[in-house]
């Protein structure tokens, strides 16, 4: 296989978005599925333990104590 030819095709200005999509599409699909599965795991965990469901911060990435929930941006 001629790697130089492959590089010539992949680095052509009009093919750069296609090459970028080869990496971006699988990455964001993986990230989306990872976040969805984390959400499902939390639902299962809270279903099994009703006490935890009453007390737990019911989000995948819980807000840590002491962190401001709102940011004052304007004015």
């Amino acid at each position: 296989m001629d790697w130089h030819q492959l590089w010539t095709i992949a680095s052509a200005p009009d093919n750069i978005p296609i090459v970028a999509m080869l990496f971006l599409a699988p990455f964001f699909t993986w990230l989306g599925i990872k976040q969805a599965r984390a959400n499902d795991r939390l639902v299962e965990q809270l279903e099994e333990d009703p006490k935890l469901a009453k007390t737990h911060h019911r989000k995948v990435e819980p807000w840590r104590p002491g962190w401001a929930r709102e940011i004052h941006v304007w004015p």
């Binding site: 989306g32 969805a36 279903e47 990435e61 941006v73």
Partner: protein, 309 residues
């Protein structure tokens, strides 16, 4: 429940008859009369379109001018005075949740506008000058190559980030009530982004752009009713000299008129429409309660408990 409704009386009689044996038929009749009642109630709602969820998802308040509170709303809901909220929910702007794609898309639009205006200083949309101007930009204008590639790269990236933004919105369910209307605005913005990309493709007047537009506009020939080769096109009097392709190209071939039309749509028409839709899109984000944050998870066991009450 309408007391004078004969269907209800009938269903009541049948419910009593159910005990005496014909329970299945009674249940079916009862179900059908309940369905009929619901349909009548819904039909009454649709008589006044302002009461429908569709109307409320588009127009959030009534615009009765006699009410002084509505007049003050004109100031309070002004997009230019309130583009940014005073406070935002920190949860809703975390990158793991938003991926930052909407913001990146907007910043790319600003980069494209800025570099596009600078490119217009060096470009003439004529068959004689267009490709020469590109060569001049690439080889003679200081930072011309950088300018052109910034514009081209940002354009390619904007299509990708718009797609990823929509993907995130689908995954987080942010298209649901009360954000249905803003989802539709977003879909229009995606189409406008694709049209901007398509019209910009012809402007260098090179072989790549020429054949891309040739293929793209040939597809327009097959448009139902408006294309000369599309379904019902011939019956409605469409020919290659008066159909939608002719309108897009300003002629029957990809030539100087097509270049000029692409240029005007690319630099004036579509950016103007897209800017209006973007303003509506951002304004609606605020009015629909800000960026949709990560909601606390819903448990099926709790939903059932609510239903029992």
């Amino acid at each position: 429940m309408d007391p004078e409704n004969p269907d209800q009386k009938e269903s009541k009689q049948l419910t009593t008859g159910e005990k005496s044996g014909s329970s299945l038929m009674g249940k079916v009749r009862e179900g059908s009369s309940a369905l009929k009642e619901r349909a009548i109630e819904e039909a009454k709602t649709y008589k006044d379109p302002q009461d429908t969820q569709l109307w409320k998802s588009i127009f959030r308040v009534s615009h009765d001018r006699s009410d002084p509170r509505n007049r003050s709303l004109a100031i309070l809901s002004n997009v230019f005075l309130h583009l940014h909220p005073a406070k935002i929910n920190r949860d809703a702007v975390r990158y793991p949740f938003t991926w930052g794609m909407g913001g990146i898309t907007f910043y790319l639009f600003i980069v494209l506008t800025f570099t596009g205006v600078l490119l217009m200083f060096y470009y003439h949309p004529t068959k004689v000058d267009a490709f020469r101007d590109i060569l001049y930009l690439e080889h003679d204008v200081p930072f011309g190559k950088l300018l052109r590639n910034m514009h081209r790269g940002a354009a390619h990236l904007m299509v990708i980030t718009t797609g990823l933004h929509m993907f995130r919105v689908v995954l987080t369910g942010s298209y649901k009530r009360p954000r249905e209307f803003n989802w539709c605005v977003g879909v229009v913005l995606l189409v406008l982004t694709l049209l901007l990309s398509f019209t910009g493709y012809l402007l260098p007047d090179d072989q790549l752009g020429f054949w891309a537009v040739t293929v793209g506009t040939n597809m327009a020939r097959a448009t139902p009713m408006f294309g000369s080769e599309g379904p019902f096109g011939a019956q409605l009097g469409m020919t290659p000299y008066n159909d939608v392709r002719f309108g897009l190209l300003g002629g029957s071939i990809v030539d100087s008129n097509a270049l000029l039309r692409s240029y005007i749509w690319h630099c004036i028409g579509i950016p103007l429409v897209a800017s209006i839709f973007m303003a509506v899109h951002f304004w609606r984000i605020r009015k629909d309660g800000g960026i949709s944050g990560p909601a606390p998870v819903m448990l099926e066991s709790e939903m059932k408990a609510v239903k029992k009450k």
